[in-house]
Symmetry: C3
Subunit: 359 residues, 3 copies
């Protein structure tokens, strides 16, 4: 069953040292201490168990042997094996974070023999505007976003990292935006953390009518996890509701039951447990089951949120498939229903939300 | 083993169209979009699996066939089958929400061949007072409540929906109540959302010494879920503690571990995972197990929180029985202990808390 | 496999009545109501299942028989059996809470034929200073702490009980400390709840460079559970990070996934689910599995947090061993990896963090 990976980043184009690989399988942005190996984690064990055989090694191969074999094959072949093996028919690639190190959508499509579309990060578009006049910020942002969104299938906000989800849900006034833009520009632009500007780019995203992805739940320590609880978005979701723009809550762990509630309550809200499944590894079926307790099955999507090593693109799909099967078995679903629901969550819901066409 | 369903509403008296039935198996109060079926959810699958056979259909009958068969039998027969089949000896029926569409306690008793008592919703009693003078609000409320509570076995507050559980726990002064009542009356009465009046009716409820039910956790999007965490009641619970009035936290999901902590810590606090078990369907044993991790077994009650289609009254009981058995098996309880604990949670604790007499 | 119990208190030196024993297997500090038995709980069932055989009784012995047999054997023999049977090679004993009723570290070592080191409670050291001049509080605290810490292996703060984890993470100024000490001393000293003094003793603890244990998550109702979510420590953890002092989040339930995130994100953060495993009994493997979803395996430690009856010292170890085995089996770890990870979490990580020497 081919999947739509509705939120993913590119695979790294270059080879990785042991230290680089270890850093790429943790969400911590700190240097890995000498006394720790990130292979000793649920994700690390999943890499050894499931990815080693793809590189012709036995399950649970030694980390050193694993990284060496990876280099021996070379990044292109590694990417070809993992991306091709994921069984993903279509990647929606978010390009806004260190995209220059990664395969772009076309590169992903080629390596995976799949389709690839773009998802545009709203904050990154703003950060390209440093140098405009304050009064031009809003119109130039609108222009630039329209341009980028012209070929994109969705938008994404990382307000969870830049402020927290407890932002004022109201659209800021034009005057507020100009004032905030002035402050930001005078400080030299750069990383967008001003709450007024963050709200502005989010509402500009809503205006574009493209589906809006929102990072929620765990990620690197740039965020405060308790301020990334998707329930903090409730007021914002209610303000977006009349526009009909679909909102997609990404990842959500450990607040995935809360995300499922929002998807249950609000017609335009969808979610995934993307990033979480990779990171919890063998516990993927537990987390997926919790996510499905309250969720309308038409509101759950598949994503890997993979960034970097193509193992993550592969594992995301593999762990999701295994977790879906385990849940269907544990809940004693008839085979036909299990297949139908897996198809909805694996690709059908994404095709509907993003209006993906086959050609 | 006959159950006491300590928090339930009446069953609908009339037949339901497909659209009406779909709307009655979701907590969302929004119209169900055309591209969604609420049958595609844990509750919907549970209806198809467990309720279809009660209507002489095979498990996992098609939703259309299910709704058609339901209409063919007629509401009275459907209610008779599901209410009679639930194995509930006694219903404590909360009558304060759209009661005119539902079987009243006597109707429930007749349809289920069981006993039925009333639980009075505190806010509804206040809303019947529109038209009094502000200064008369408090004494008239006390009179009216005493009258209603004369035959009731418990009281219920929906402050979670009207404000959130983060209310000031202190009893408001008489002057504050009169002033707030004046504002409310001048605005034409109606839905009670003023925090002072909410606090007043809750404390009036405590004064009556009847057990006090508090909705916590998920429900329709009229509430903010993160403001329905029962832990937000901690200060209020400590203020009620000296009165000895039992407090019953209803439903609690996804904060049921938190509710169990409160029941563990405070002698007068009890809880259930009522509504949640129906909605999580096949995951009921997971949720019940989590609820029982920290809970004193003398503090856990059974409820269905069913409102509307009698499937919910039936499923609540069926899923609870199955979940209790699954937990006892998973935790390797001896059969005698399993039966004893199930009896406590299924009926004994409710009989003690509500002082239910057999006659 | 011998364990290091990195956070534990002494075992009670005296015999216990039925009522005393019941009170010692709940975290509630309220009198146990007549209609409740704390044996009817996950912990109570675990005592009957696993501890009864250690006292030569059958599994699930009757509570009365259990307590009687306990008294018949006498506290010394009971302690010898449970402490000796726990398979703990080293106890890190926190001595700051009602230590006079308990075996001290030497007594624990003798009864268990194990090593025992001390962990010093920061607030208790301050409470011994009543009577000093306000201006002397800080220097005298430093002196006293240096003295106590001279032989201790770690420090512990109970700020969760005294204020909540939502304290201002900044180190208070000398002037603020003197002023707050003046207020505290004028009020007669006693229980330390002033937030400035709490922050002072915590930072004094950090200055000592010993590993810092922080109680988080559930405990007796002296705390507000929602203010004991370890995520509320995020700002504090970031301020401690440059010092390199290890922080150990204790217990964490029901926020253990959140604690695992902090251990994932920050190199100096470690955690356990100590207290929780005893209290959730048969559900220990569920809770441990959740804790391990996101946790680096080098960051998880074993503790029992036992205080009082030696059953808790024994059960903590037994439930942890059983839970580790169950998780390894459920996640299909190879035997060698399972043993390696269990050794890390059971003792190796503690030996590294606390720099424990064999002699």
């Amino acid at each position: 069953m081919p999947l739509v990976d509705h939120h993913v980043h590119g695979a790294l184009r270059r080879d990785l040292t042991r230290a680089e690989f270890e850093s790429s399988i943790t969400e911590s942005d700190r240097p890995v201490p000498a006394w720790i190996s990130t292979f000793d984690s649920s994700l690390g064990f999943a890499v050894r168990r499931w990815c080693a055989p793809v590189l012709d090694l036995p399950p649970y191969a030694d980390p050193s042997a694993y990284v060496e074999r990876r280099r021996e094959l070379g990044a292109a072949e590694v990417n070809r094996r993992f991306l091709g093996g994921a069984g993903v028919a279509r990647f929606l690639v978010e390009t806004g974070f260190r995209g220059e190190e990664l395969l772009d959508p076309a590169g992903m499509a080629a390596a995976a023999r799949a389709k690839a579309d773009e998802v545009v990060r709203l904050e990154t578009v703003a950060e390209e505007l440093a140098g405009v006049a304050a009064a031009d910020f809003a119109p130039r942002y609108a222009e630039r976003l329209a341009e980028r969104a012209g070929t994109a299938v969705g938008l994404k906000t990382v307000v969870a990292y830049r402020h927290g989800l407890d932002f004022d849900p109201a659209r800021p006034s034009a005057r507020e935006v100009t004032a905030a833009a002035g402050d930001w520009l005078r400080a030299g632009g750069g990383r967008l953390t001003d709450p007024v500007l963050l709200r502005h780019v989010i509402w500009a995203g809503v205006d574009s009518r493209l589906p809006l992805q929102v990072h929620t739940g765990f990620g690197d320590p740039d965020l405060r996890l308790h301020r990334a609880d998707p329930l903090l978005l409730t007021g914002f979701l209610e303000q977006v509701e009349p526009t009909g723009v679909p909102v997609l809550l990404l990842h959500c762990y450990p607040y995935h039951r809360q995300a499922a509630y929002l998807a249950h309550a609000y017609p335009h809200v969808h979610f995934d447990v993307g990033l979480a499944l990779n990171y919890v590894g063998a516990a993927a079926s537990t987390v997926l089951a919790e996510a499905l307790e309250l969720a309308p099955y038409a509101k759950v999507l598949y994503s890997s949120d993979a960034w970097g090593p193509a193992e993550l693109h592969y594992l995301g799909a593999l762990l999701w498939r295994r977790a879906m099967s385990a849940v269907a078995r544990a809940w004693a679903w008839p085979a036909g229903e299990a297949a139908r629901v897996a198809e909805m969550m694996g690709s059908g819901n994404a095709r509907r939300v993003y209006r993906l066409r086959e050609s």
